[in-house]
């Protein structure tokens, strides 16, 4: 087992982050890059900005540390930490979506699940009211559209049953 080799990750805006290999391979993408031996110099991550990369690294580090310690004991603590990490009033929407995209690109399943669950909770909890700029659309249907749909279907139905 490679003993804490340091890997350098470079974000899209040119900042370099040095992390232990164990932390870096939380990301399947990076893991494959290392296995394919592309990791001599810094690994470039053109889709991730430094701000987001810093957060991702923080997340991975915490999870690696937690798994190194006693396994089951820190489960709830870890969950609590996760909740605090992604807490709605700490993270603004742009960051949240950036995190989703980064977790998707870097293929970090747990982070992806966490962030998607957060978004789902936001939709569920209707934290974004009816006139919803967050989703970039309004929540009220274009009434004309619905009537049109129903009307065409009704006409078709009528034709089917009455002729």
């Amino acid at each position: 087992m490679a003993s804490s080799r340091k890997i350098t990750l470079r974000s899209s805006d040119g900042e370099s982050f040095e992390v232990e290999e164990a932390v870096a391979v939380e990301s399947q993408t990076i893991k494959h890059m290392i296995e394919d031996d592309c990791a001599d110099n810094a690994i470039p991550l053109p889709n991730v900005t430094s701000k987001i990369l810093a957060k991702v690294i923080e997340y991975c580090k915490k999870h690696v540390d937690a798994s190194k310690a006693e396994d089951r004991v820190n489960d709830e603590d870890l969950k609590a930490w996760d909740a605090a990490f992604i807490k709605v009033d700490q993270v603004d929407q742009a960051t949240l979506f950036d995190l989703i995209l980064a977790a998707n690109y870097l293929n970090i399943k747990s982070l992806l699940d966490l962030t998607c669950q957060t978004v789902a909770d936001m939709i569920k909890g209707n934290l974004f009211p009816v006139r919803n700029e967050w989703l970039n659309f309004t929540f009220s249907i274009a009434n004309r559209e619905l009537v049109l749909v129903c009307l065409t279907e009704w006409v078709a139905h009528r034709r089917l049953f009455c002729s």
């Binding site: 040119g14 603004d92 279907e153």
Partner: protein
């Protein structure tokens, strides 16, 4: 301290280690020693490639000029290499005209106040940040590309250079430190010459958030990017209004003649509240509004700013947050999510640029992944937002999963089942069984199928008025069998619901 010196012409970078304290002539001498036999004094140095670094007092240390460890300094032998913008104050009239129509220009005061107050961060550095912002962003396709140094991982340096920063001391420590306060602090430090009170603090803080989102301030008259806001020192303590204009760097570079598409922010203060309205300039639509309580946020920002002043470099410990950073976050979040992001989305949508990070810009499989986590009703609500989302949420397998989750019914069915409709009917049935008692008391229109709930139209049953023929004689005609569930339904004529399903013509 370590400095990087880059030639203006050839872009070669030298790394120099200069003693602390060092003065400008000494630096030139060291550079000369390294490079060429030319005397040190013929070297011109600059931070932003535009303004030359000059020290009126040759013994001034580099720190007082605003250089810190890790900074990138450009050098050239050409005496006119850095075509200075002349007198700093002569550039003001261009931009001061742009600050706002109702605010008087106190820029002369600003300049003289700036240098002593911003202990070591002269205007040219601030300008370099702005100047760097514009060209850097132009090269990036993504509007939301942030070129500023986030300051997250560097222990000691305020480097504004956008391109390729490598840590000074060779190892980078990743801090669990949020970057928003740092960014805010930095912009505040530059813009805030003196102390303009709460109003000014908040206005500039909002400006910082807009900047972070990728906006660049433009002069409302000419449409060119404005480097600094020349806000007066004395603001009327009671109600005031002012407006600022922002655009995107891409747009600014694209249209050099006319006013680029921009976004206007109007500030209105009333007592201790500031209301900020934002809208697209040309279209004047999509008004966004946020309201900030000065009493709440200004002190926090003040404290944070003061804390930053004490150590010009970044906080040493990224650990426990002493001052109420939570409040700063809240401020940040309110402005960003309430104002900056929606305006950015509006602007990019209007102009046709790729959207910033928002739900719609997620790839489809991620959207579906999120939908899987939603309960049925919320899925239907999302589906009611627009036709694209309706299409996305009409996936039959997705609805099958929702049906099973909600009703835990048998899942093997004959043939093709429209699960969305099944869900709708079952949901409706469930609701009805709860409402049985009240149903008898209100015989008039009671039934509303599930999907009609989403409608805002006051008279959803306009089309049954056209029904005649078989549907009148046999009111139950065409009502589908409710998939095996006991479903008492006395069909009223006006409550006829055609057997349609959204997204299909199964009849």
């Amino acid at each position: 301290m370590k400095l990087r010196l880059r030639s203006l012409e050839s872009n070669d970078t030298l790394k120099l280690d200069v003693p602390n304290p060092c003065s400008l002539p000494q630096l030139r001498q060291i550079l000369a020693d390294r490079l060429s036999p030319a005397p040190g004094s013929s070297f011109r140095l600059s931070l932003n490639r535009t303004d030359e670094l000059q020290s009126p007092n040759p013994a001034d240390s580099l720190q007082s000029l605003g250089l810190a460890s890790g900074d990138l300094v450009y050098y050239t032998l050409d005496p006119d290499g850095f075509a200075s913008r002349g007198d700093n104050s002569s550039s003001d009239p261009n931009f001061s005209a742009g600050a706002s129509n109702q605010v008087s220009q106190g820029h002369a005061d600003m300049d003289s106040e700036d240098l002593p107050n911003l202990a070591g961060r002269p205007r040219e550095v601030a300008d370099s940040e702005m100047a760097d912002l514009v060209p850097e962003d132009v090269q990036k396709v993504e509007v939301s590309g942030n070129t500023e140094d986030r300051g997250n991982s560097v222990p000691e340096s305020d480097d504004f250079d956008g391109d390729g920063f490598v840590a000074v001391d060779g190892s980078v420590v990743v801090r669990s430190k949020f970057s928003e306060p740092y960014f805010l602090r930095r912009v505040l430090r530059e813009e805030l010459g003196g102390d303009g009170g709460d109003h000014r603090l908040l206005v500039i803080a909002v400006h910082a958030v807009m900047q972070e989102s990728g906006f660049v301030a433009v002069d409302p008259v000419t449409g060119i990017p404005a480097d600094r806001f020349h806000l007066p020192d004395q603001w009327p303590s009671s109600a005031f209004t002012m407006s600022l204009r922002y655009s995107l760097p891409v747009l600014v570079s694209r249209q050099s003649v006319n006013m680029p598409e921009s976004v206007v922010l109007k500030f209105q203060s009333l007592g201790h509240f500031i209301t900020i309205y934002g809208y697209l300039a040309k279209v004047k639509s999509g008004l966004r509004r946020i309201c900030l309580d000065e009493r709440r946020f200004a002190p926090t920002i003040d404290v944070m700013l003061a804390k930053g002043h004490n150590n010009v470099e970044v906080n040493e410990d990224g650990g426990p947050i002493s001052y109420s950073e939570k409040d700063v976050f809240e401020f940040w979040k309110i402005v960003k999510d309430g104002l900056a992001l929606p305006l950015l989305i509006d602007l990019t949508e209007r102009v046709g640029l790729p959207l910033p990070s928002c739900f719609t810009c997620l790839p489809t499989e991620l959207k579906l992944k999120i939908f899987e986590l939603l309960p049925g009703i919320d899925l239907a609500r999302v589906g009611g937002v627009c036709s694209e989302l309706r299409y996305l949420t009409s996936n039959n397998d997705l609805w099958k999963q929702k049906y099973v989750e909600e009703f835990a019914e048998r899942t093997e069915r004959r043939g093709m089942i429209n699960w969305k409709q099944s869900f709708a009917w079952s949901w409706e049935a469930k609701k009805k069984t709860k409402r049985e008692s009240s149903w008898w008391q209100t015989p008039s229109r009671v039934d509303r199928p599930f999907y009609f709930r989403i409608r805002r139209d006051p008279n959803p049953f306009v089309f049954p008025a056209m029904i005649g023929g078989d549907y009148d004689r046999l009111p139950g005609f065409g009502v589908p069998s409710p998939f095996g569930q006991p479903f008492r339904r006395v069909p009223f004529r006006r409550n006829f619901t055609p057997n349609c399903n959204l997204g299909g013509l199964n009849g």
